[in-house]
């Protein structure tokens, strides 16, 4: 019997190897790297430099600017995504049978499209000279608008596009949460006179809290790592207004090959994400 249990490791071996080599290993290696000067382009060998990368990051105006752009994206997108996903989940749940399946499929469909295709479609929508949006607005007498030409409208454009692309996931999670609430609760509440909004506030919202918390935290973690959408749609411009942290890390590490510095900034970004996620967990738990 003992031998049988140890034999379990034969089954685990492939997983553990890959897990160690490509997950746990890089996690630790990344931390070590963040304390080193490791520039692939310089002839100097890599060396340990303590906290220098971190102090450089904290004094790096570009890093702060990229964190501001990331935070702006998070603040603009997350508070719209989750309530809207909830509204859609409620709307879809109210429909029965085949039609519900159709709505679910249609709303989730954008999520299966790759980020580059999504960005290229929307790039055409937003184009100033021959974009769809301006073409639709022209009959109303609106002069062509350069949607991606100012930092704020460009970021708004990225947020709207991301909303279109990613709303389906949280919608499905919340829909599954709604379906788990027993119908008897609503029946009992109806006898006590709680219907409509009151039933929603007293029964739906409290019972949906786990699903809401999950979608909120997942959405937040994803939003802080935003990269592909601005990278393809705006390339980080105009005036670096949409250059998010991940893009700055990408450029530092893979265009200037300052890998140690890139690793340090990755850990700082991770720290920011962890703080926000923990904060949300607490807020949702306490209420």
């Amino acid at each position: 019997m003992i031998r049988r249990r140890w034999a379990g490791y034969l089954f685990l071996l492939p997983y553990l190897t890959l897990f160690g080599a490509f997950l746990l290993g890089p996690l630790i290696y990344g931390l070590v790297l963040s304390f080193m000067q490791y520039d692939m382009l310089s002839p100097e060998p890599a060396k340990f430099i303590g906290m220098e990368n971190y102090s450089e990051a904290l004094g790096d105006a570009y890093f702060w600017k990229s964190l501001r752009a990331t935070t702006l994206f998070v603040v603009m997108s997350v508070p719209i995504t989750i309530p809207l996903a909830l509204l859609l989940a409620v709307a879809v749940e109210a429909v029965n049978g085949k039609r519900q399946m159709f709505y679910r499929i249609a709303i989730f469909a954008p999520s299966v499209v790759s980020v580059s295709v999504v960005s290229l479609i929307w790039r055409w929508f937003y184009n100033k000279e021959f974009g769809l949006l301006n073409a639709l607005l022209a009959p109303l007498g609106v002069e062509p608008i350069g949607w991606l030409n100012t930092p704020l409208t460009a970021m708004t454009g990225i947020v709207v596009m991301t909303l279109w692309w990613t709303i389906g996931g949280p919608m499905l999670v919340l829909l599954a949460g709604l379906k788990q609430i027993p119908a008897q609760y609503y029946e009992a509440a109806a006898i006590d006179g709680a219907v409509g909004w009151r039933a929603f506030a007293r029964i739906t919202l409290p019972l949906l809290r786990p699903a809401l918390l999950f979608s909120l935290v997942m959405n937040l973690i994803g939003a802080f790592q935003v990269f592909g959408q601005p990278f393809i749609l705006t390339g980080g411009g105009p005036e670096l207004g949409t250059r998010v942290a991940m893009q700055y890390i990408y450029q530092t590490a893979f265009q200037f090959y300052r890998l140690g510095y890139g690793a340090a900034m990755s850990w700082l970004l991770f720290l920011v994400i962890a703080v926000f996620a923990a904060f949300q967990f607490r807020m949702m738990r306490e209420r």
Partner: protein
């Protein structure tokens, strides 16, 4: 059946329309000649043309889209096979054989599921570089093999399988490997399918790994190829959209066939914790 449209259903209809419309527009626009794209007058192409597709097919050195398609199919299929094999073996061991330390491994995997993947990018690049795998398909396949999500999903399912099934097989003298192969895998087909489709989609749409871990044009997968190709054809939207359609069609087909499994995979992570 209730055929009345409620107020809420109007919201659902609107959302469904907005969800599908851009994809349909992309497909329609790919059949427009460039002049019609630049001067938008109607949604349907007035003079539908296959010219955009022909141009792409006729210039494989300029736009090696078939090569990218092949790369994408190869990489995504390999990742899927790898994940399903590796995680089903691991989940079986953790759920049933329960080796010493199994709990620690399981908890550690779950914890790593919460770690944002992108912070691994730089160290992963260095490791792949040392292995000499940068700019090869290996760099896009093996790092995705240890899917904590897969272990988590299959572990929950294996736990729910009645033990009597295996015990009967064990009495018949089956080894663990044969029980895994002849008992566990066949009854887990639906959940394995969910995992496989989900992993395939994720791999197909992965943008960051091929962007960072490949250098040469012929190693690109479709999402990176299409995005970078676009920068040299910035204003030729007809061409760009034809390339986008080629990149999207396989996924849309998969989604049309397996929408239930894909959507089930989407919520699987949320409901279990």
């Amino acid at each position: 059946m209730n055929n009345r449209f409620s107020k809420l259903e109007i919201i659902a209809v609107l959302a469904a329309f907005l969800g599908i419309a851009p994809v349909v527009l992309m497909i329609l626009t790919s059949f427009k000649p460039d002049g019609e794209v630049v001067k938008f007058e109607s949604i349907l192409p007035k003079t539908p043309t296959l010219e955009n597709y022909r141009h792409i097919a006729a210039n494989p050195e300029e736009v090696p889209i078939l090569r990218w398609l092949f790369n994408s199919v190869f990489v995504s299929t390999s990742v899927t096979l790898l994940v399903v094999t590796v995680t089903s073996l691991a989940a079986y061991a953790l759920a049933r054989v329960q080796p010493p330390g199994g709990r620690v491994i399981f908890t550690l995997s779950l914890a790593c599921m919460m770690v944002p993947g992108q912070i691994l990018l730089v160290p992963l690049y260095m490791i792949l570089n040392k292995l000499g795998w940068i700019d090869t398909p290996l760099a896009l396949i093996l790092p995705h093999g240890a899917s904590a999500f897969g272990v988590f999903l299959l572990h929950a399912f294996f736990k729910s399988v009645p033990r009597e099934l295996e015990e009967a097989a064990a009495i018949d003298g089956c080894s663990m490997l044969r029980i895994y192969w002849h008992v566990m895998l066949p009854i887990s087909r639906p959940v394995l399918a969910t995992l496989a489709i989900f992993v395939f989609l994720g791999s197909w749409n992965d943008f960051l790994s091929p962007l960072v871990f490949t250098d040469s044009v012929e190693q690109f997968t479709l999402p990176v190829g299409v995005a970078l190709f676009q920068s040299s054809y910035a204003s030729e939207y007809g061409l760009t959209f034809a390339a986008c359609v080629i990149c999207t069609l396989p996924v849309l087909l998969l989604f049309a066939i397996f929408s239930r499994q894909i959507m089930a995979g989407m919520v699987a992570g949320a409901l279990k914790d």
